[in-house]
């Protein structure tokens, strides 16, 4: 859990306090903290003067606006057809082995979360994943383990 502190106020100053400001504000909180806490959503509701239910209702619609705790690095593995055909399962096995978690889980040190996602627009370089914003493509078990080791050292 993180403390939102002044963040919501700063973001509201930046993006405005209209209904259309809601998505950019929630997106930037997630960029910083990787998920939305109840506290953060209540704070956003207060700043924008809308009900917390509205904020939660909107956030829960979007898969990238997570309301469950997530690690510092969110790994999204594409499970759509081309990535599935080109070795997605091997990538998942490698990641599960390395991180000692299953898809859908977060490591106990809160560093990594593993999630499946739908086509991320790199099918010609399948299999592909996103780590936070960054795409990694044409993966092999070796390649993905090198990438994760780098993240572990960050």
């Amino acid at each position: 859990m993180y403390q939102v502190g002044n963040l919501v106020k700063e973001l509201s100053d930046k993006h405005g306090r209209m209904r259309e400001s809601l998505m950019p504000i929630l997106q930037e909180i997630v960029q910083k903290h990787n998920y939305l806490t109840d506290e953060a959503m209540v704070e956003v509701a207060r700043e924008l003067d809308i009900s917390a239910a509205e904020v939660y209702g909107t956030a829960s619609f979007y898969t990238f606006l997570d309301t469950q705790e997530k690690g510092k690095y969110v790994i999204r593995i594409c499970k759509t057809i081309t990535c599935s055909m080109k070795g997605k399962s091997d990538i998942i096995h490698t990641l599960e082995d390395m991180l000692k978690i299953k898809v859908g889980e977060t490591t106990t040190d809160k560093q990594f979360s593993l999630i499946e996602t739908n086509c991320i627009g790199w099918c010609h370089k399948a299999p592909a994943i996103l780590i936070n914003e960054m795409p990694y493509t044409e993966l092999t078990p070796e390649k993905v383990s090198t990438i994760i080791k780098d993240y572990m050292q960050k």
Binding site: E20, M23, L65, T80, I81, T82, I120, G121, C123
Partner: protein
């Protein structure tokens, strides 16, 4: 039917001087720009294929001091990745196309809705947008573009869901009418166009409508960018003249053992080998927003269908029953048939369900689930059962 064969074209990624094209466009009247686009026969490149000139004409006809050009960069259709490449390589032409569209319909504001999966590009795009705004100012024209991000919802590519999302709400499609040309984002007249459509429109202004109509067929003018993936030795992005048959496509991109091509993504149609020769890729045959997925004989079409149904079940916004329940039933249904828990004839019931969804679903997502379902079950029934 006309068949143009497979020809590579270089229009979308062609290097041009955007400033010159814009100066040329801004000297034209709104009606002249629209006439050029109408004459070109350009149809939307996002999948639905609505004539772009008409869309602009209708939006131009609305009386409102506030109108919008929205660029749809949500690109969530499985197997599509051309809009990302276009934005990476020629964003100046995307922004330029928006300004030209703005001039045509009388809009001073443009919004690009970029899918959350492409956020890694945003920083670079912001720098390029800055230079674009500077250039527009130099020409002495008033047009401003903003970027809005999606957050991982395929349905937000549907135009009215996209507007809801820009407005800060759940991305649930609206009832139509009113159409976006009358009441779009912020309830203002809006022309929403795909990334590639806007670039193509700019190139039509650059080269003239005549130049464009020499490519393609009566129903599918010009060229378009294809996203090629799956069992192919040459996956990637290719700009091709419209009007080729699936066979001609497979001759170039297949691996020698192509069993089926899914044209138009999960919401498109599956073309089996025996229909390659007679099927034209375009609005007269199988339309596509660019997604071309090839499958060779080592692939199980059951797995393909299951993957698509799983996709739709997850991505359905859940707002209307035919789609929410229909997607789940189709998915469970094929699983049951596969496991032998339901008789193969149960597939006929499911085909009827897919038909009902086409009629009863509120938006294009639910309406098009049947495309893949019926064309895969219809052509590969044995693979679904055994």
């Amino acid at each position: 039917m006309e068949n143009k064969g497979l020809n590579k074209v270089d229009l979308i990624f062609e290097k041009i001087e955007p400033k010159e094209v814009l100066i040329k466009a801004f000297k034209m009247s709104s009606a002249e720009i629209i006439q050029n686009i109408l004459d070109s026969g350009l149809k939307g490149r996002g999948g639905a294929g609505f004539p772009t000139g008409l869309k602009w004409k209708y939006t131009a006809a609305e009386k409102s001091s506030e109108k919008y050009i929205v660029c749809n960069a949500d690109e969530g259709e499985p197997g599509t990745f051309k809009d990302r490449e276009i934005l990476e390589r020629v964003s100046d032409k995307v922004h330029g196309g928006m300004a030209i569209a703005g001039k045509a319909i009388g809009a001073k504001m443009g919004i690009v809705y970029l899918r959350g999966e492409y956020r890694y590009m945003l920083l670079k795009l912001m720098i390029e947008l800055d230079s674009f705004h500077k250039m527009i100012k130099e020409i002495g024209y008033d047009f401003n573009i903003e970027y809005r991000m999606g957050s991982g919802a395929y349905i937000c590519g549907e135009e009215s869901a996209l507007f809801e999302s820009i407005e800060g709400k759940r991305g649930e499609p609206r009832n139509k009418p009113p159409y976006p040309t009358v009441s779009g984002v912020f309830d203002k007249p809006t022309s929403i166009n795909n990334v590639e459509t806007l670039v193509t429109a700019m190139m039509i202004i650059q080269h003239g409508a005549k130049n464009f109509t020499q490519y393609g067929t009566k129903d599918s003018r010009g060229s378009k960018v294809f996203s090629v993936s799956g069992d192919t030795p040459t996956p990637g992005i290719f700009e091709l003249e419209l009007g080729m048959s699936v066979q001609q496509f497979v001759n170039v991109f297949g691996d020698g053992d192509t069993k089926a091509v899914q044209v138009g993504g999960a919401s498109g149609f599956c073309v089996p080998r025996k229909k390659f020769a007679e099927t034209i890729i375009g609005f007269e045959g199988v339309p596509t927003g660019g997604s071309m997925m090839l499958f060779n004989s080592s692939r199980s079409m059951y797995n393909v269908l299951h993957n698509y149904l799983d996709f739709f079940t997850e991505e359905s916004c859940g707002q209307c029953t035919p789609c929410r329940v229909g997607c789940q039933q189709l998915l469970k249904g094929v699983e049951k048939v596969k496991k032998g828990e339901a008789k193969p004839t149960y597939l006929n019931e499911l085909m009827k369900l897919a038909d009902s969804m086409k009629i009863a679903a509120k938006c294009g997502l639910g309406q098009s689930v049947g495309n893949a379902f019926k064309s895969i079950v219809g052509n590969f029934r044995e693979e679904i059962i055994y």
